[in-house]
């Protein structure tokens, strides 16, 4: 992996060697990714690695392409009618050469606005992915639902109301329900597109706590425009500006001693 990374001299924003030695397992990589909506180019030549069992935060001002970047990582960009060029690798294999449906099962996604299925109960909302993927048997389904809800730290709040509608929950609970739904299909990577931006501070704190626990089992990429959140939850931070990857480093480094002026300006609130 390291040698391959070294062979890419024209992509200056790959993790430095020292960092890679501490966390050598790379789960996902983007290589020279350009993304478009029609003729408008949203992402310019983005290359970055996502190490396994780490949280990568993508920060940047609105419209910088953060969401598009994560949506390229699980092939949801094409669902919205976009196109892209470049490589996206999952375990060193190009996800654009594989079946999109299978890829999305391995790379789960949590959206900005909680979007549980409105006509389904809490139980069914979590079970739906299993049913879709044919993983459900009558025996395991209850177990998986319980485990997923526990992992999403929602079980204690809903265990007596599993038959209630998913939309009867509060916004924060709905978002954790959506996380449970994603966990139920046992993905390897979880992408979160501003998962807490529609939530109040208490619900936000719960989601952040959850992210901390989840990284033991999953690799997480989180988009956020809340820098404090990035600083709190992530191990690595990528700063995007105008569709370009400006700086990518350990979160500590980015927030205390960024090497690029633009990053520093953004972190300190001088623009964006």
């Amino acid at each position: 992996m390291q040698t391959e990374l070294l062979e890419q001299p024209n992509t200056p924003t790959i993790l430095p060697i020292e960092t890679l030695q501490v966390m050598p397992m790379i789960k996902m990589s983007a290589r020279n990714v350009d993304a478009f909506f029609g003729k408008a180019q949203v992402l310019h030549n983005i290359s970055l690695d996502v190490p396994a069992n780490k949280v990568l935060a993508i920060i940047g001002p609105s419209g910088c392409g953060k969401s598009t970047l994560v949506r390229c990582l699980n092939r949801m960009h094409e669902v919205a009618g976009g196109t892209m060029a470049g490589l996206v690798l999952l375990d060193d294999r190009d996800i654009y050469k594989e079946d999109a449906v299978r890829i999305r099962k391995r790379i789960g996604m949590v959206f900005q606005k909680p979007n549980p299925f409105p006509t389904m109960s809490i139980f069914d909302n979590v079970a739906v992915g299993l049913k879709l993927n044919g993983l459900a048997t009558r025996r395991n389904i209850g177990e998986v639902v319980e485990r997923s809800l526990k992992q999403a730290a929602l079980w204690d709040e809903v265990k007596d109301a599993l038959n209630k509608s998913g939309v009867s929950l509060s916004g924060g609970q709905q978002q954790r329900l959506c996380i449970a739904r994603t966990l139920a299909v046992s993905p390897e990577v979880i992408l979160m597109d501003e998962p807490a931006s529609a939530l109040d501070p208490i619900a936000t704190a719960k989601i952040e706590e959850l992210i901390h626990d989840l990284k033991k089992k999953y690799t997480i990429v989180i988009v956020t425009h809340n820098m404090q959140q990035a600083a709190r939850v992530s191990d690595l931070t990528a700063f995007l500006y105008m569709g370009k990857l400006i700086e990518y480093d350990e979160t500590k480094k980015i927030f205390t001693n960024p090497s690029i002026k633009q990053t520093e300006d953004y972190i300190t609130g001088r623009f964006g």
């Binding site: 949801m76 669902v79 449906v101 999305r104 409105p118 299909v185």
Partner: protein, 318 residues
């Protein structure tokens, strides 16, 4: 969490608190209320008037008017059952034919069609709703009925005559013709409302299922689950249209007040009997019987349309 607070401290906008409201607004409010109330009044008055005019037969036959099968103006014996049956049966046939087609088209329009194709296709379908029913009727007489008599009915009775629906002599005119023509007339309504209901379901729902690893088909199934009640409402609205349709049906149904399960046999609908016999209704009882049928039709369509609207609203208003 202290950093979250700052932005929300905005100055309060002063709210107009003066108790005196603008005269223009008050006048405007009441005028429009009166206009709106007028619609309600009109419906109530129509119902009341029909009830009054239908009193002779209501008093003579009571509820049995609904279950009697004789329609004999000479003997002054009236019963509405053949007409109620004809209306419901022909509408049901129309729905059975139109429903799968309409929902299929609606799914194509809202979920599958490329962006450039959807507007012209939707326009064409809505254009179908704008064709006057007399045109459908003429087409029915000169094209549909001969085709049914010569091709469709012999074919059906040859292969499916073990089903009672497809037994009998091939006249051409009859339930099958009425059902087919109604299905074409109902199609645009059911299609365009189903499409609107499907389109009202937020994109995030589609993305949620796709991101879980659903195939397109599975994602559409989930969307259909969400749209269920709205689509059911669309179907009821189509039913309302079919039940009230007069001209085209009258021209092809055969106009015979009989009750038969066979699609080949002629029938009669409530709307058709009104259109055909109003001019001949010379006696008070005859007129009263016809008006009672009109009253029935009025009631059935109002109930169906109200149910349908409620269901559609429950989906699209969210």
């Amino acid at each position: 969490m202290s950093f979250v607070v700052s932005a929300s401290q905005t100055t309060k906008v002063p709210v107009a608190t003066s108790p005196k409201r603008h005269f223009g607004d008050v006048a405007f409010k009441y005028t429009t209320t009166i206009f709106a109330g007028f619609v309600l009044l009109l419906v109530l008055l129509m119902g009341f008037e029909m009830y009054m005019q239908a009193k002779p037969t209501i008093e003579k036959f009571g509820w049995s008017f609904l279950t009697r099968t004789v329609w004999d103006p000479v003997q002054e014996e009236y019963g509405a059952l053949p007409f109620v049956f004809g209306t419901l049966f022909s509408s049901l046939i129309a729905l059975v034919i139109a429903l799968p087609l309409s929902i299929g088209i609606a799914i194509f329009l809202s979920e599958m069609a490329p962006r450039w194709l959807e507007p012209p296709l939707s326009f064409l379908i809505e254009l179908l709703a704008g064709i006057p029913s007399i045109v459908y009727g003429l087409w029915g007489i000169f094209v549909l009925v001969p085709w049914i008599r010569i091709s469709l009915e012999p074919l059906l009775s040859r292969h499916l005559d073990f089903i009672p629906l497809f037994r009998g002599a091939p006249y051409g005119y009859g339930m099958l013709a009425a059902g087919l023509i109604l299905s074409i007339m109902v199609l645009p309504i059911v299609t365009s409302i189903s499409r609107d209901v499907l389109k009202a379901i937020p994109q995030t729902q589609r993305e949620a299922s796709l991101a879980l690893g659903a195939t397109k088909w599975e994602s559409v199934k989930l969307i259909l689950g969400d749209a269920k009640s709205g689509i059911f409402g669309a179907v009821l609205l189509g039913l309302g249209r079919a039940i009230g349709e007069t001209m085209a049906v009258t021209m092809v149904i055969g106009n015979t007040p009989s009750i038969s399960i066979s699609l080949f046999d002629p029938g009669y609908t409530m709307a058709s009997v009104l259109a055909n016999e109003f001019t001949e209704a010379t006696t008070a009882m005859y007129l009263s019987a016809l008006i009672e049928i009109a009253f029935l039709l009025f009631g059935i369509t109002i109930i169906i349309n109200m149910l349908a609207r409620l269901l559609v609203w429950s989906v699209t208003k969210k």
